[in-house]
Symmetry: C2
Subunit: 406 residues, 2 copies
């Protein structure tokens, strides 16, 4: 697995102490753009996600998905010699990425001040649930915990019922992307000024930034309007939301200037300028009637794809609600490589979501694998730190280094 | 409003043709890191979002939130002289950001090949719903349309009921962040190699990448397991989800190694190793029983904050489900600046979500305003293109340039 020597970030080297998902998502992005990512994994179990979602040979697909192209160095982080090895790598890297709970990195003797002693212009990118500062900073967090504090959970699900939790890492993944933005911006500045930087990105801040309208609607009306969840509907217009189409579901956006098109599709031109239904404000008030009319009409089609085809004939934005199976098999997602077929060294062929950037000139989906535990112990310690075979053997014997086949 | 002359991207200049939310979110990030963003707005109405969510003086807060620090140049894009002005700016910028439907930029005479003629190493960052390629590429899209095709919508809401739509731009904002990653990586490469690049980022690809487990669980089991939505619960463990706490809601993550802590908090140490409830697999099967027991216990507290305090005493990860109002008033979000108080030139004081990156050395929340329409016509055309007052006056008279007070 050679490094990608002519990709966007081929001259960048990252020391990656992160685990599970927000941090690894960030460094997967960097690795897929050519950065050399040295992933430090704690002996003996390796990074936390290696324990999740294994379906073959004890190799976690959760780990495989988020760790493509990284170099695994497995070190006993409870042994001072293990920490010393990590510290010894710092002068050789451009940036450190970590997502421990705030304070843990300091406790390991690898806090920002120490990193700066080791390399004056180091960039430290810290990712956390709540951020490095503030009264919640030290609380244990999961994606859903930060989501609840951000107000986002309250905006998902039926009003009057408990909110729903999206079954996906919509906060973690995006926080990883925001961290990559910050890291690349700091690197740009370092190249210009020679100065390092400390970055603080949190899942809570990212979730809160998803509120494209909710916060300023609340603030701009001095609290008179408090946006709340609207179930299967987009709350500000109608029809806009998820509708039944026989026993399937369809998203129809028939509001605003799409209303006349929808009326034409339904053969109800008489409603285009109807005093009761001719504008979004009145349609929102009569949402149940509009839904009933639309679902009655949708019920005539043999399936959701026939309904989509007919609506598209009239330029009404719409989409079938695809299951994971249907999305993964959809020709568009396959042709674009949104669904990425990989050939894992342990699992063999398997499909995962691709890193979502496509290039015109640079290679998309470069041939990189996810590492086995400690796969690059020798390479990294010999090539970068100049350690001899005998040194490596001694560290292995002392339990400071570890290698496994999965 | 001086440019931020010592921030991370202070030497970067962006030509921004984007509108509404994914593109403007991207360029807001860049502007808040010091980039000079020249935002081209079409005369006479300006960028689309100027028509949304106005609460005072005809100035849209939706626009204000996403366009901080940008320079507005308002040009008639249906007039060849308007297009010529935009083209004339290209040699002076590092990158162009746009989110028209694929093909529209070419139709305007500003496609990638033309941009390269104007500046050989230009970076073009295109954002779209479905991407620049593939059978869906030319379809009209909204966040929710791409979401439905990604399989994400199917993973939100109660099973057996129509899926729920999150009331926030969770795809748009994140797609903007991913686009910024790609743009900064391409800029890094250009500085090293002198080569430009064409970038293709889509809301669909980003939504699909949010599936941290769903896709590989489906693929890794050869389709035997098709993940589906799980309502208010995290589907793979128990208890994990949203629970009733009197008439409020709380997120409790009492699964895995947190179960014994939760048992202790509830005074039910007898259940720690219970054969029926001692592990997640069996608890998932008896989810209704676990929920009932937990909610009975939660119902004893005077409010959700008392329940959170008690659970935290036993180290059980949990959070109150905050409304938009509660999140916006929360001391943590205010102390960190997650809630950003701005003083808009038209609206005056108002609160919006901050751009979610915090710096150690660089200024956070720099003093930048969102522009009025065409506010920087003179500055950009005089300073960068060397146009005279008389030229500007003639262009204004010809309807090629426009300025407004909001």
């Amino acid at each position: 697995m050679p490094p990608l020597d002519d990709h966007a970030l081929s001259d960048v080297r990252i020391l990656d102490l992160s685990r599970v998902v927000a941090g690894p998502y960030c460094t997967r992005m960097l690795a897929e753009m050519g950065a050399e990512v040295i992933k430090i994994e704690p002996a003996p179990a390796g990074e936390l996600s290696r324990g999740a979602a294994s379906f073959k040979g004890g190799r976690s697909l959760y780990f495989v998905q988020q760790n493509r192209g990284k170099q695994s160095v497995c070190v006993n982080l409870k042994d001072p010699r293990g920490i010393a090895l990590v510290a010894e790598l710092v002068p050789h890297v451009d940036a450190v990425v970590e997502n421990f709970r705030p304070g843990v990195l300091d406790g390991m003797g690898l806090g920002y001040e120490r990193l700066r002693e080791l390399k004056e212009d180091i960039i430290l990118c810290s990712i956390s649930s709540f951020g490095q500062t503030g009264p919640l900073a030290s609380k244990p967090g999961y994606d859903f915990i930060a989501q609840a504090y951000s107000g986002m959970t309250s905006m998902i699900g039926d009003p009057g019922e408990p909110p729903a939790l999206p079954s996906a890492a919509i906060g973690d993944a995006s926080t990883g992307a925001h961290a990559a933005v910050a890291l690349l911006a700091a690197l740009h500045r370092r190249n210009r000024t020679g100065k390092g930087e400390r970055i603080d990105v949190s899942i809570l801040d990212v979730y809160y930034a998803y509120h494209d309208a909710n916060v300023h609607v609340y603030s701009g009306t001095n609290g008179e309007v408090v946006p709340t969840r609207a179930g299967r509907y987009y709350g500000f217009a109608c029809p806009a939301g998820v509708y039944r189409c026989g026993d399937q579901y369809i998203v129809v956006m028939g509001m605003l200037h799409h209303w006349p098109d929808l009326c034409r599709a339904m053969g109800r031109e008489d409603l285009i300028d109807d005093p009761e239904l001719g504008n979004d404000r009145s349609r929102v008030k009569r949402r149940d009637d509009v839904t009933e009319m639309l679902e009655d009409w949708l019920g005539q089609f043999p399936d959701v794809h026939a309904a989509v085809a007919e609506l598209e004939r009239f330029d009404v934005p719409c989409a079938p609600v695809l299951s994971i199976a249907e999305a993964t098999q959809h020709p568009h997602l396959r042709e674009r490589g949104t669904v990425q077929a990989i050939d894992d060294p342990v699992h063999g062929p398997v499909e995962i979501p691709a890193m979502p950037i496509r290039w015109g000139e640079l290679p998309n989906q470069p041939p990189i694998d996810s590492p086995t535990l400690g796969q690059h112990n020798r390479k990294v310690l010999a090539d970068i730190l100049g350690r001899s075979e005998a040194d490596l053997e001694a560290l292995r014997d002392a339990g400071v280094l570890l290698e496994k086949e999965v």
